[in-house]
């Protein structure tokens, strides 16, 4: 144990100790610790394993950039996996598990893989896909991959989502963000200030600086107090992970009490990017060992959490910020050596100054010594490295901002204007308080004053293509300089190819510490400079976002609510078994105590409907009114069939086609009076038909002449069907203006009527082939009518009919269900409806398509009936009719509906079969899952082909 907790200082509350476990080992910390700071202070040095070579790893960072360590735990909200311990508050009682280790981080059984690393070059997976055989490696690789185990059984609480607006969203509450928020809030703007850390302050929480004559901590406290007075919403633990079109910024807010994260969708007028910068590693042999840490992470652990990361610390840097780190470590009691790569670096008091660069770290496991390029060695238990700052410009780049290379600061910085977005501070390439506030003053017109410290100065320290040893570029994905060199040799020199071939920057840290070094090396290998190599595309999310947060409340019923029937209580009382039919919860059948009872009940209901009478809830059937002087002309255009010749009070069955000539929907059209039609459409298709009607009405017809109104939800439609249907209506007391005689109300007619003083509409159409009446009544009156009809039906030996039995009845008659008996290629002629195409005079939707070569082909799949010709049971739905005359069987089409008919006492089926209409009577082979059957092609209608029962 080399790191230790200091007795004073930091944000931690020493009066509130806490403990948790890591891979079974007890870790002690304090309130205010992150999991990482507590682990650093009292835990093992090896906290994880690298993804590919299973190298032992310790903490590198202190924030979102952490590439090495991820952990999982369970809490009240469920399995929390693949978490950066640097971003999680320490909580008493947690049981942490290191990700991707077996059995634990300290004793990983796959650690030997590192010895064979030369057999696992970049592109290893791609190469094994080709040769010798990917499947030899797949099980092992899959078992070792992954970061944590998803608890798939857990449903858990769902996360909240918030939509929000503000004038300005300031992302990053460091000095630049705080100053920007203050300026804009003082000017009266509604400002939202967010930060991904546990508290606002940014670098003020760990770096020195004086602002407006105050020390950083005092200025921070004063600024937060004023922001509070100005009602600025300050949100810590909140990461802006993506910027999307039309100014949408997505935030993920973490809560430290274990409640699920909250997703915020914010649409600010302006976004200020004060997202700071991330410190890069330095390239040397063995630069991934435990004990090697970012210098600014080390300073963060020291100043925020009072953890001194080592006793003998080497601070290695190529820039001016190493001095503060070295001095702070020495002051806290460590023996410090500063290895500054800048030849002109000023010596720092209180530390050993050793200008130069680290070449290697000898030995195995955690770092114990560094060897400089001049060959001298320094014993140490901790190396703090600073390779220079990389501005965090992900959100700017996501918004299509173009980056430019700043050759003085060795960083990509924003170069072009992005509308509504202002990068400031380190994100804009201003790495000191002085530079930050000078830029802020010129951008926003007002900024604090910083007492200028030394300017930022840096010398290049890019990976050397000639350097010996194993030099890590991407810690998490184990990409070394050798892998980049291999990619260059094999021709993967473009930055996007480099990324995919080596997986550089593709780990969960998205290359926050590694990308720039990788492309600098590729540049050196291919004779290009860094801006010529360019960067890969920045895509959201900036950090991993829990799926629960993205999903929010939109799960199951909240995402796709089932539509419920007005009469659902009545159906329940009658013992209905419910099913989801096109988004509606409808009675499948009645009176089935168990699932095993259902087939018999369905058969009985169908038989009853044929024998006497049945009552069916047809409410979900779409009912759209089309009204106005041009309504008939409009519907002539919409429908395949001619509508304008229909007499008032009469109904007609018809198709709506798409412009491609495909049957889009079918249904009965009622002409209620001269200028008033009722379009009925499939229950699940109402919204689509409505949109189609509106689009053509508004695009092609005078709007004032046609009006469309969706009346589906206004009425309940109760269907009475069967030989005794009229008797039920009469007994129930349903009356029509001219009576219910067949003269007054023949098949395919409608009439206005009443029941107990309540108006209703009776439409005599049939989906069963028997005499049927559809009674539509105001929804709030429907239950009483339903009960009365039910009572009268029972008295006549009838009862209730569910959706399943209705399916049998309509299939016996060869009536189609759109989308079941038709598909995306079915034209009306394929269904046997050729009349309108030949006879209709006026233009209609899809007409020209029906004359195209494809629509007129003689070998089209046509709608037919099928009757098993092998004495076996019902044909499987989806089975293929096959042509066995060729060398290989060829599909002729498929079975679309198949049932046992209680009426006929035999199986029936409907199908779409090639040239079906001209092959009626032929026997074809049917194939399903390797089984062969035989069936005879018949007319679609298997029962009462003349339709006598409609009038019986």
């Amino acid at each position: 144990m080399t790191a230790r907790r200091l007795s004073s200082g930091g944000e931690i509350d020493r009066s509130r100790p806490l403990t948790f476990t890591f891979d079974g080992q007890t870790i002690e910390g304090f309130e205010g610790d992150t999991l990482a700071s507590a682990l650093l202070a009292s835990g093992p040095r090896v906290l994880g394993r690298s993804f590919k070579y299973r190298r032992p790893r310790g903490l590198y960072g202190a924030g979102v950039e952490e590439p090495n360590i991820s952990v999982s735990f369970h809490d009240a909200a469920g399995a929390q996996i693949n978490l950066r311990p640097t971003m999680q508050p320490a909580r008493d009682g947690l049981a942490l598990r290191s990700d991707n280790t077996d059995p634990d981080a300290a004793h990983d059984r796959h650690a030997l893989i590192d010895r064979f690393s030369r057999f696992l070059p970049a592109g290893f997976y791609y190469k094994t896909f080709m040769w010798p055989n990917w499947h030899l490696f797949e099980p092992k690789i899959r078992a070792m991959a992954g970061l944590g185990t998803v608890d798939s059984a857990l449903t858990g609480p769902v996360a909240e989502q918030v939509n929000h607006w503000c004038d300005t969203l300031v992302i990053g509450a460091g000095p630049a963000g705080l100053a920007a928020a203050l300026t804009l809030a003082r000017a009266g703007e509604e400002v939202m200030l967010i930060d991904d850390g546990s508290r606002p302050g940014g670098s003020l929480l760990w770096r020195e600086g004086r602002i407006d004559g105050k020390d950083g901590a005092t200025w921070l406290a004063d600024t937060l107090a004023e922001l509070n007075r100005l009602r600025v919403r300050v949100m810590p633990r909140t990461t802006a992970f993506g910027i999307y079109d039309h100014g949408l910024v997505a935030l993920n807010q973490r809560h430290d009490d274990g409640t699920p994260d909250t997703l915020w969708r914010v649409r600010p007028t302006r976004t200020i990017l004060a997202t700071g910068a991330i410190d890069r590693p330095l390239p040397f042999d063995g630069n991934d060992r435990p004990g090697i840490m970012s210098a600014h992470a080390g300073l963060t652990y020291l100043r925020r959490y009072a953890v001194l990361p080592g006793q003998r610390i080497t601070v290695a840097c190529n820039n001016s910020t190493g001095a503060e780190v070295a001095a702070a470590m020495a002051q806290a009691g460590a023996e410090v050596t500063l290895v500054d790569a800048r030849p002109d670096a000023a010596p720092v008091a209180g530390v050993h100054n050793r200008p130069g660069r680290i070449a290697s770290t000898p030995g195995r496991g955690a770092v114990s010594e560094v060897v400089l390029e001049d060959g001298s060695a320094i014993a140490c238990d901790c190396v703090l490295v600073s390779g220079g700052f990389t501005p965090t410009i992900h959100l700017y780049a996501q918004a299509q901002g173009k980056l430019g290379w700043d050759a003085d600061q060795l960083a990509f910085v924003p170069r072009t204007e992005v509308t509504g977005q202002t990068p400031v501070g380190a994100a804009a390439g201003h790495f000191t308080l002085g530079a930050t506030f000078a830029h802020l003053g010129s951008t926003l017109g007002q900024a604090p004053q910083a007492e200028e410290t030394q300017p930022y100065a840096i010398t290049p320290a890019w990976p050397d293509p000639q350097a010996k040893g194993r030099i890590w570029i991407d810690y998490q994905h184990d990409v070394t300089t050798k892998d980049v060199a291999l990619a260059a040799r094999e021709g993967f020199t473009s930055v996007e190819h480099l990324k995919r071939y080596t997986t550089l920057g593709m780990a969960t840290d998205q290359g926050k510490t590694s990308n720039i070094a990788g492309l600098a090396l590729m540049g050196a290998l291919t004779g290009r400079d860094i801006p010529q190599v360019g960067t890969t595309t920045y895509r959201p999310p900036f950090t991993p976002v829990p799926l629960a947060s993205l999903g929010g409340l939109e799960t199951e019923q909240r995402m796709a609510p089932l539509r419920r029937l007005t009469l659902e209580p009545a159906h329940r009382a009658a013992g209905a078994t419910f099913g989801d039919y096109g988004g509606w919860l409808r009675p499948a059948c009645y009176g089935a105590a168990t699932e095993a009872d259902q087939p018999a009940r369905i058969q009985a209901e169908a038989a009853m409907a044929r024998d006497s009478v049945a009552l069916f809830d047809g409410t979900p059937l779409g009912k759209i009114e089309v009204i106005g002087p041009d309504a008939a002309e409009f519907l002539d255009f919409i429908y395949y069939n001619t509508v304008s010749t229909l007499k008032p009070g009469r109904c007609r069955y018809g198709f709506i086609l798409s412009e491609a000539g495909i049957v889009f929907d079918d249904g009965v059209l009622v002409r209620q009076d001269e200028n008033r039609f009722l379009v009925s459409c499939s229950s699940s298709h109402t919204a689509g038909v409505l949109a189609l009607l509106e689009e053509w009405r508004q695009d092609r017809f005078p709007r004032a002449q046609v009006h469309i109104h969706n009346a589906t939800a206004e009425t309940c439609t109760l269907t009475v069907t069967g030989p005794r249907a009229r008797d039920v209506l009469l007994a129930a007391g349903v009356t029509c203006d001219d009576g219910l005689s067949d003269e007054a109300l023949p098949h395919m007619a409608m009439a206005w009527g009443s029941w107990q003083g309540q108006g209703l509409r009776v439409t005599r159409v049939s989906f069963t082939g028997d005499r049927s009446y559809e009674v539509s009544i105001r929804a709030d009156q429907a239950e009483a009518l339903w009960e009365t009809l039910h009572t009268e039906a029972r008295r006549l030996g009838g009862g209730l009919l569910g959706v399943e039995a209705l399916q049998i009845l309509r299939a016996e008659k060869g009536f189609i269900m759109i989308g079941k008996d038709t598909d995306g290629l079915t034209r009306p002629m394929d269904l046997g409806m050729t009349g309108p195409l030949r006879r209709k005079k006026t233009e209609f939707l899809g007409r020209r398509s029906l004359w195209q070569e494809e629509a007129q082909r003689p070998d089209r799949k046509q709608f037919v009936g099928l009757e098993p010709a092998d004495g076996a049971g019902i044909l499987p739905c989806g089975a293929h009719g096959i042509d066995t005359s060729g060398a290989r069987p060829r599909s002729l089409g498929h079975v679309t509906s198949s049932y046992h008919s209680p009426t006929l006492g035999r199986p029936i089926a409907l199908a779409l079969i090639e040239r079906g209409a001209e092959r009626i009577g032929e026997v074809i082979e049917i194939q399903h899952l390797g089984q062969r059957r035989r069936a005879r092609l018949t007319a679609p209608c298997a029962f009462d082909p003349k339709g006598d029962r409609l009038h019986a």
Binding site: H246, A660, E695, D699, R700, F701, P702, E843, S849
Partner: protein, 91 residues
């Protein structure tokens, strides 16, 4: 999530809208040659940059024309489609 502006309702989230096709793709009525019909049915300009499109606002059913930039995704406010000028109405 894009924000589109319905001429009737004002700005609303994109999930309330349904794409209706490219504007200006006039329907050729009658027995036009197969090629002309295929052009209408299948061929689109698909411009890079400003695209004129038909959209329908599903909550109010307004059908309108919107100019949307296919590169920047910027969407101009919707314009009512001009068919109203053909209204016979009382005039």
């Amino acid at each position: 999530m894009h924000i589109y502006t319905c001429p009737f309702c004002g700005p609303r989230p994109e999930t309330e809208f349904h794409f209706g096709g490219e504007a200006g793709n006039d329907r050729p009525d009658g027995d036009v040659p197969a090629q002309a019909w295929a052009d209408y049915l299948h061929y689109r300009q698909n411009p890079k940059g400003a695209a004129r499109e038909i959209w329908i606002h599903l909550t109010c059913h307004e059908v309108f024309v919107m100019t949307r930039d296919t590169v920047t995704m910027a969407a101009q406010p919707g314009e009512p489609i001009p068919s109203d000028t053909t209204d016979r109405g009382d005039a």
